[in-house]
């Protein structure tokens, strides 16, 4: 049997196993090792299992994943989201759609210290949704804003998805984090504009809240010193700001986790139960992500012996679509996959195949990381299987899926426009990393 035939059979079996709910990492590992064994031999294939598994879990660089997950869990469980939402609300809550704008701003602030889209969406479903409903905001709008705001978690540093992309493609994780800043801020700004436009286009659809006094605003700003300090310390350390120690990404995660823990404990926000819950949450998610990482590395050997990345590169570049045509094709594939699987699994499964194509086409790897994470994040909110939508539904029981998806539609349009802008102007993502 030719290597091409083995590769095709491998992919068919992989997708069949995944559709039969075999954990993504285990399916990749099984197919990868079996395919490698078929082509190279059983002995070498078995050797790769133990060696790759142990090498992956004892790689210090990969420590960035559990550390940022732990920081995000401490931040989430210490209630910093409420302070951010309250502060944003005192400044913009009185405007038409102001609570929606406050949600986006607070989601951005929270994303900058939690690093997770799903955590951001889940947290603000509990914090912002009841408040918006209290002021008679429509269900669809309230849920849509939270779903969209949640996606900021993967763009603004520290982003767990960008860290994994960086590790797989051997790019500087610090540069990737910094590259996400301008696109993340652009996303937040465009969501705010979208809400403003909805408010103007449909008068009466979005209510206004009460205006806060100057004293209330000052008090609210004083409340957000903790998340602000954490963000400046972690990202400042990564970026090498003056008067701050310089960290590697793993160190930034560890210091961020310890900082979030200390801030939570010293301010009386993290009790014994919250600490234990945070440790468990970080452990569970880290174990799930590492299983996929191990599987992907084992699958990588299979890809290498079948020369799949090279063949996919030759095929795509031979289509005559031009580099932007191929890029569009890749992004459409990600949007389609977004209907099937989780963002992290999608990145780990596909990047080893797609990345050589992107490099061959001459695109900047850091810029592509930002673009692809944005595309994958779009999958978190677009129908029929947006993960953020499911998360909101699990927290807010009285809203239907169709209502949430209806509320998300304007933000999907905004996301597509933002992607076009970033493809047209790569400097938006690359300017800050170039200053590092």
């Amino acid at each position: 049997m030719s290597t091409d035939a083995v590769a095709v059979i491998g992919f068919v079996v992989l997708f069949a196993l995944m559709l039969l709910r075999v954990p993504v990492g285990m399916a990749m590992g099984l197919v990868g090792v079996s395919g490698f064994a078929w082509l190279v031999g059983g002995g070498p294939a078995l050797k790769t299992v133990g060696h790759t598994s142990m090498r992956t879990v004892t790689d210090y660089t990969f420590g960035v994943i559990p550390m940022f997950l732990l920081m995000g869990a401490f931040v989430t469980n210490s209630g910093m989201s409420r302070e951010l939402f309250h502060a944003a609300n005192t400044f913009v809550g009185h405007r038409r759609g102001g609570l929606g704008i406050a949600t986006i701003v607070a989601c951005g602030g929270f994303a900058a210290i939690s690093g997770s889209s799903v955590a951001t969406a889940a947290t603000f479903s509990a914090v912002a949704y009841p408040e918006m409903r209290r002021y008679k905001y429509p269900q669809s709008f309230a849920a849509g804003v939270i779903a969209a705001g949640g996606t900021l978690g993967a763009m603004l540093p520290p982003s767990t998805v960008l860290a994994v992309y960086g590790i797989i493609t051997e790019q500087d994780v610090g540069k990737l984090f910094i590259a996400g800043v301008v696109p993340g801020l652009l996303a937040a700004a465009m969501y705010v504009v979208t809400i403003t436009v909805i408010g103007l286009a449909r008068p009466g659809f979005l209510p206004e809240g009460p205006r806060a006094s100057a004293r209330e605003r000052l008090a609210a700003v004083q409340d957000i010193w903790a998340p602000l300090l954490l963000f400046v310390f972690v990202v400042g350390g990564l970026y090498g700001l003056p008067f701050l120690p310089r960290f590697t990404p793993t160190e930034a995660g560890g210091v961020g986790a310890a900082g979030a823990f200390l801030l939570g404990v010293l301010r009386g926000r993290l009790g014994r139960n919250e600490i234990l819950r945070s440790l468990l949450q970080a452990t569970r998610t880290a174990a799930a992500v590492f299983t996929v990482l191990i599987g992907a590395l084992l699958f990588g050997y299979f890809l290498t012996v079948t020369q799949t990345p090279q063949k996919v590169t030759a095929f795509l570049t031979g289509l005559g679509l031009g580099r932007y045509g191929v890029l569009t094709l890749i992004m459409l594939m990600y949007l389609l996959l977004g209907c099937l699987m989780d963002a992290m699994a999608m990145i780990i499964l596909t990047i080893p195949i797609i990345f050589p194509v992107v490099v061959h086409l001459g695109f900047d790897p850091v810029w592509f990381g930002v673009i692809i994470v944005m595309t994958v994040e779009l999958g978190l909110i677009h129908p029929p299987v947006g993960m953020n939508v499911f998360v909101i539904k699990s927290v807010v029981r009285d809203v239907s899926f169709s209502t949430i998806f209806r509320g998300v539609l304007p933000f999907i349009a905004t996301d597509i426009l933002r992607l076009i802008i970033l493809i047209a102007f790569p400097l938006l993502a690359l300017w800050l990393p170039s200053k590092m």
């Binding site: 039969l20 075999v22 399916a27 142990m54 559990p66 960290f247 160190e251 560890g254 799930a288």
Partner: protein
């Protein structure tokens, strides 16, 4: 039994905290006192290995791995159970093979007398503790399979929320 599973999960959770503390103390000492914590790097990565394998054990039992639920979510309870049994059997097979091959890695590290960089401590005990996590994963997945088939009411299926 449930207490045993909880203990396994707590072992992993404890090590997450230890890894973070190790990094924090190392960074603090380096930047404030220009002192390097001996073997901070090696301890960090070796403890990471332990936390991940013990975490995988608990995650496998809880059904918290990243999965594609498209088919599962659109079939009846009977087929859902069949799919779950099949997926868990595959999981059991893969983790068993992994555990078998990992033992070779632990044995190799012992025979090669691989040491940490600063304190020259043998690394094989760390590898052995990590391997023990994988052994417990096999046991827990076997229990999960048994319960899925014969005592489904005893299983609480939880999907990990991963970004």
């Amino acid at each position: 039994m449930d207490r045993c599973i909880d203990t396994i999960e707590w072992v992993a959770a404890f090590f997450v905290g230890i890894v973070a503390a190790n990094i924090f103390v190392a960074v603090l000492l380096r930047n404030l006192f220009a002192v390097a914590l001996p073997d901070a790097f090696d301890f960090g990565r070796l403890l990471l290995g332990i936390l991940i394998f013990w975490g995988i054990a608990a995650t496998s039992y809880r059904g918290g791995h990243i999965t594609v639920d498209l088919v599962w979510a659109n079939v009846g309870p009977r087929w859902q159970r069949n799919i779950d049994v099949f997926a868990t059997l595959v999981l059991l097979f893969v983790v068993s093979v992994q555990t078998y091959t990992l033992f070779d890695k632990v044995r190799g590290t012992y025979h090669d007398n691989v040491l940490t960089f600063d304190l020259r401590l043998p690394t094989w005990p760390f590898f052995a503790v990590a391997w023990a996590g994988d052994v417990s994963a096999v046991l827990l997945i076997a229990i999960r399979t048994w319960r899925l088939i014969f005592q489904p009411e005893k299983l609480i299926d939880r999907t990990a929320g991963v970004e």
